[in-house]
């Protein structure tokens, strides 16, 4: 009996040794978990990040990515720095502000090659050209990127900024103020909240006019993927896999717009599908033009320097070095098949 037990035990141990030394699916490495924080509550351009999740591109590179909403670009950068988000989405102007305060977060891929900043104004209030903003009221919160960059736009467009009457209001109050005619103009980000204006203006018969900043030579970069320098130093391979999968998804979305937008509206059923669709299609007009020759995500050094210069000047910040701001080193070379 004792001998039988000894043989059984030995056989049990040998079997385990064989299993442990043999590669198998059950022993495959656990996927790397990442939290990807958006810059705001879901809006149009965020839809370009959904295909990587839904089509399994993250799974293919052994990543388990959880995409979370945000509360502003500044908040997104802080979360990336604090480790609450591994990767975050933020506009580059906010990153300049953060870097000037010593926050060690860097941009590693740009999404919006054109700046999303835009002035929306009431044509029926006498604003037919951008010059007509002189003498008119312009509403928005002080921290609104459109207002911060308004002096820069005015300098480019030959508008006397001192003649514009700025009215400080809450972020969510500016929309009804414009549409009810209480103010003449506001700033809004295209591919973000701009679509609702077209919908409401059409329904309520309001005559609006749009002045995208890029049309006047404003060439700062828009939304970009950022991470803390600590994260980049400790997990560069994880970031490379994340960027490869994400940008593959963005390329797919650019080449399959209708399927991608359907995927997005199903992903966020609580959002107005009309808003998401409008912003999603507007987003293409910010992502495709001005894309770097190497493909999606790549940033041009001169344009990063321009973004730094306009932001430092507008907000009277401490200077920021261009190499502190960004890196292209973690990027693959991915381009969508479709043209602009």
């Amino acid at each position: 009996m004792r001998t039988l037990f000894k043989f059984a035990f030995a056989g049990f141990m040998i079997a385990h040794l064989i299993i442990l030394s043999t590669p198998s699916a059950a022993l495959a490495k656990e996927p790397d978990k990442l939290i990807f924080g958006m810059n705001a509550v879901w809006y149009g351009v965020h839809g370009y990040f959904i295909p990587a999740l839904k089509l399994g591109y993250y799974k293919d590179v052994n990543l388990d990515v959880d995409i979370k909403r945000g509360y502003g670009s500044g908040d997104a950068i802080k979360r990336a720095y604090a480790g609450q988000a591994d990767i975050a989405l933020s506009d580059l102007n906010s990153l300049v502000v953060a870097r000037s305060q010593g926050v060690q977060v860097k941009a590693m891929a740009v999404l919006e090659n054109l700046p999303p900043h835009c002035v929306i104004a009431r044509r029926d209030h006498g604003v037919k050209t951008i010059k007509d903003l002189e003498g008119k009221t312009f509403a928005g919160p002080k921290a609104d990127g459109n207002i911060i960059m308004l002096p820069t736009l005015c300098a480019l467009a030959g508008v006397d900024f001192s003649k514009i009457k700025l009215i400080t209001v809450d972020f969510l109050s500016k929309d009804p103020l414009l549409l009810s005619g209480k103010v003449d103009a506001i700033g809004q980000f295209q591919a973000g909240g701009a679509t609702k204006y077209k919908r409401i203006a059409k329904r309520e018969n309001i005559d609006l006019v749009w002045f995208p900043y890029f049309k006047y030579g404003f060439k700062a970069y828009g939304l970009s993927l950022v991470a803390s320098e600590k994260m980049m130093k400790e997990k560069p391979e994880v970031i490379k896999r994340f960027l490869a999968a994400t940008l593959k998804g963005v390329a797919w979305a650019l080449d399959n717009q209708e399927k991608a937008v359907k995927m997005y509206t199903e992903f966020r059923p609580e959002m107005s599908s009309e808003e998401l669709e409008g912003g999603f299609y507007d987003g293409r007009n910010l992502i495709m033009p001005g894309m770097h020759p190497n493909g999606l995500g790549w940033m041009d050094r001169e344009r990063v320097q321009y973004t730094i210069d306009v932001t430092v000047k507008a907000q009277e910040l401490k200077p920021v070095g261009v190499d502190e701001m960004f890196t292209n080193e973690l990027l693959p070379k991915i381009k969508p098949a479709s043209k602009e």
Partner: protein, 255 residues
């Protein structure tokens, strides 16, 4: 008509009249929906968004109840500590007051950054908002016990615990429930503030989303549901008060 019937019918008739007036004004003045939707539009939206609303409502109720429960337990314990331990009264209570006056709208983003994306920040904001009234009311109740009753207990050689359990705590119960009535409605506000800042579910998140999309009817639906939740929870506390302290008669002014 009896008092009981009037209590139910009166508010219903009044609110119905208000709603009808609202509908008439919006239609007569052709007020845009994005500014003030007509009640009929709000009802339409509520029906169309039924399944969506159910999930988000459940999340918010969960956060409210948990935030309130934690505030109730800790609030009562801290008040008892402050009533009997001088150190707590002198050193901890000022901190409680400071926390109360902190603007929670400013604190909420910090909490999300420290605690992450889960439910905890929302529950903590709900707790912070409703904690104060539980502490203050409980302490007031404990300290308002008549000295004659305490002297009587001393005269029959009652222990400190017996004095607390037989006299002071029952005396404090009406005050505690008054604190609960204030706190439960404050917990609704706290949960919503937390959801504004860092949630992808809940009625507060829906309000944010509907504001962003200028979907004012959905915003009104969410606010209405929150109002109803607040009312139901308040009445639940009143009901529990009648169960736990049936001997406490609220004074009624005779007309």
């Amino acid at each position: 008509m009896s008092e009981k019937t009037l209590r139910i019918i009166g508010p219903l008739v009044f609110m119905t009249a208000l709603i009808i007036l609202w509908e008439i004004v919006v239609r007569a003045f052709k007020v845009p929906t994005f500014l003030i939707p007509a009640p009929s539009k709000v009802v339409q939206t509520m029906i169309a968004s039924g399944p969506l609303l159910f999930g988000h409502t459940f999340v918010t109720i969960y956060e409210i109840l948990l935030g309130f429960a934690i505030a109730a337990i800790f609030g009562i314990l801290l008040a008892i500590g402050a009533a009997y331990i001088r150190f707590i009264e002198l050193c901890v209570m000022p901190l409680v007051v400071i926390f109360q006056v902190l603007p929670k709208v400013a604190v909420a983003p910090l909490l999300v950054m420290w605690m992450g994306y889960g439910e905890s920040p929302k529950i903590v904001v709900a707790f912070l908002i409703c904690f104060f009234s539980v502490v203050i009311n409980t302490l007031a109740g404990l300290l308002s016990t008549e000295n004659d009753l305490i002297d009587l207990m001393h005269s029959i050689k009652a222990s400190r615990f017996q004095i607390f359990w037989k006299v002071q705590f029952p005396n404090a119960l009406p005050f505690i429930f008054s604190g609960f009535e204030i706190s439960i409605t404050s917990a609704v506000i706290g949960a919503i503030i937390g959801e504004f800042v860092g949630s992808e579910s809940g009625l507060g998140y829906l309000i944010m989303v509907s504001q962003q999309n200028m979907n004012t009817p959905l915003m009104f639906v969410s606010i209405t549901i929150l109002g109803v939740i607040g009312l139901i929870l308040f009445e639940l506390v009143v009901f529990l008060e009648k169960i736990f302290i049936p001997w406490h008669e609220k004074t009624q002014i005779k007309r």
